[in-house]
Symmetry: C2
């Protein structure tokens, strides 16, 4: 049977909505690679009682409990206290942990404030988890419950510190546990463009039943439908066999819309596939962005080493910028408007010429809340892609939701359209 | 006594980390305005049992339970079933809800797939919450528990649909409840640049004690420290008095680093303050971005109406782009390198000239993972701002965390530096 995990994320800033919790998702994806399934994430404030209760509840249900945040040096950082209370252990000063905190300050060439002494407190019996990127050591301990032994790991909240510590210090411990637990899962993901969730559900039919194996889940995000097939089995081979059979049926039924298939450990973000592809083929890239205003270039620049193919890119928000920076002709703007396939096509071609790039994308749309008309309502977005001088352009209509949602979807779809041209 | 709330967010894509849950934070911020405190957020998969249990547990603790997601048309959307089970009600077809689903399709000019009939199912006795932006109606119902009457509201997962429904359909119900419950809170927020969380904690001392009133929480995100002061009282006036006294002490102690103060209902994002300021003063804006590669322009373009001040902006990733697009001199690059105050200053000045803008920002940095040197390690970022031709530049060093984190912090700090120049 495969292991289950729960996540307890701590922070007044999370619970109050001042900061978005990205750690939990990152951890869930990392756990998936070990066939450990995250079954619940709880977010609580910087409150020792609440946190301790959440940990106890999580440990009643799941084999592994990951506690994130609350390890800072300030009075309101209560993870150490909460875990100690949840497992009934005393909180003690650890010289080894204290040495690590001091060593971090020494490396950073700063003086250690006295408050950081607090970061050397650990529940009795806990193993220290080394923090390569910050001051706070984490810790892990075994917690016996009526339903079996649980592993509790407490990690710092800053994403960079958390992920580095998870990979080097927690993953090896979990891999060993997962190996002993046995049971297998397998996953395959399809990404589709141009299909609504309702129509998808109709076509997929009873493959989507809650007790089907593999289970199919679908979600629409940023203009793209992602369908995830997850199979279970007594071991990984059995799960893989069930999965492969369904994938073989799924593929032809949705070939018309599918632009990408993914195995378990790939990022679902299109730039994480497109960026390496551009680098591998040596295709210099640029963009001319109106409503997305930099989102496309910024997303592609998430990819390390992108400087090999990204030199210059253009935000051409105004008509004037479209003319001056990427050479859109005034008569095109006058005849078709800024949000048109014709203008987008000239933006893409002009950007490629101006940046001396072999591939380019262009986006011009109405993200709202104002600016919509009967003919071109909010959500109307023109796209163009250029590959070695061959330009393709089209106008799409997104649901008139929020400004941010339309802009994010537009950036994503632009990258998807280029990906599709380069891979089909 | 003020009301408490809990959020139950549903979705395999959330629990597996394929999608980030931004809804919970949005709702928490909206609740705060009514002095309703979110005490826990639970994220569960598309699983009826798990969801029903999470709802029951939440209703045992909190006065208001907001269930988000799982109202789509597909088989794996189980919110309706889970809420019905949690409250022990039957699930029934509602003609009124069905009419709303059909009306949405009619307005969108599309044919309604048969699967959407499922969206007309509601727990017996529930009131329909109208969805202005999508197909799925929400619903609200009263749920008696041993500890008092709870309000449960079930809302769709797409952020645009959720927020519109919350504001028009849920907020009025909650406001009435909050008024009856009494109790008051008041909040004030400071944002600081250039102060670490440890040094902040030392300077703030016992104001940060867990039982202090107001309570002070701090968080560091994107290079900025945010300190939130929250006071409680028998009513709002009492809370406000406690808050004002502490704010008056806090302000001079941290004046050196404070660049912004906020009342409860302001967005903590700097672009939401800077954008309207630029528009109000009619200050045309542009940017020259290297490692941020469009993030700065894209963030500012989140602000509706930004076209009044944003015409063109530049992604100058390569040295060649820095020279050609924004006129950085080859000798400056040769003498000081791309990541230097000198280069950033010429980028800001050159961008302003090229875009005919009165204000500009420029960023050039080493986001990693590669590219760092002993003299300029990963995390070294040069910033410049230009206001009516007067350029200021500086080099900052961020902790060498993740590439994305360094780029996000760089974009944020660039906007903060411009904000500080325009408001001090």
């Amino acid at each position: 049977m495969s292991l289950t995990a729960e996540i307890v994320a701590i922070g007044d800033e999370l619970i109050a909505g001042a900061t978005v919790d990205t750690n939990s998702g990152w951890i869930a994806r990392a756990l998936e690679k070990l066939a450990i399934r995250n079954v619940r994430t709880q977010v609580v404030g910087d409150d020792e009682d609440e946190t301790a209760r959440a940990i106890v509840e999580a440990a009643e249900r799941a084999d592994v409990v990951l506690v994130i945040g609350g390890l800072g040096p300030t009075e309101d950082d209560r993870a150490r206290h909460a875990v100690a209370r949840a497992v009934g252990a005393e909180l003690v000063h650890s010289d080894e942990a204290f040495d690590q905190v001091r060593a971090w300050y020494a490396r950073a060439g700063r003086e250690m404030p006295d408050t950081n002494r607090r970061q050397a407190l650990l529940p009795q019996g806990a193993a220290i988890l080394r923090n390569a990127r910050g001051t706070a050591p984490g810790f892990a301990l075994e917690f016996p419950t009526a339903r079996g032994g649980r592993l509790i790991a407490s990690l710092p909240g800053p994403p960079g510190e958390m992920s580095a510590m998870f990979e080097s210090e927690v993953l090896p411990r979990l891999a060993e546990r997962a190996r002993r637990a046995g049971g297998g899962t397998a996953m395959h993901r399809f990404q589709l463009l141009g299909l609504s969730e309702s129509v998808f559900a109709e076509r997929v039919g009873d493959w989507m039943a809650r007790d089907a194996n593999p289970l199919i889940g679908s979600t629409v995000s940023q203009g793209v439908l992602t369908a995830t097939l997850r199979a279970r089995g007594a071991d990984e081979a059995e799960a893989r066999a069930a999965l492969d059979a369904r994938v073989a049926e799924f593929r032809p039924r949705f070939a018309e819309w599918t632009f990408r298939e993914m195995e378990r450990d790939e990022s679902p973000r299109i730039e994480d596939a497109l960026g390496p592809l551009l680098i591998e083929r040596g295709l210099a890239f640029t963009a001319a962005e109106s409503c997305t205003a930099g989102l496309i270039a910024a997303r592609l620049a998430r990819v390390p080493g992108i400087s090999a193919v990204l030199g210059a890119s253009f935000v051409t928000y105004s008509d004037d910028a479209k003319r001056r920076l990427v050479g859109v002709r005034p008569e095109t703007l006058a005849a078709h408007g800024a949000v048109s396939a014709e203008t987008a096509a000239e933006m893409a071609a002009g950007a490629a010429a101006a940046a001396d790039a072999r591939v380019s994308v262009a986006v011009s749309g109405i993200a709202g809340p104002g600016g919509g008309t009967a003919e071109k309502p909010v959500g109307t977005v023109a796209f163009a892609t250029s590959v070695d001088g061959a330009v393709e352009a089209e106008v799409r209509r997104f649901p008139p939701t929020a400004r941010d949602a339309i802009r994010d979807a537009s950036a994503n779809v632009a990258l998807v359209l280029l990906w599709r041209r380069l891979t089909s």
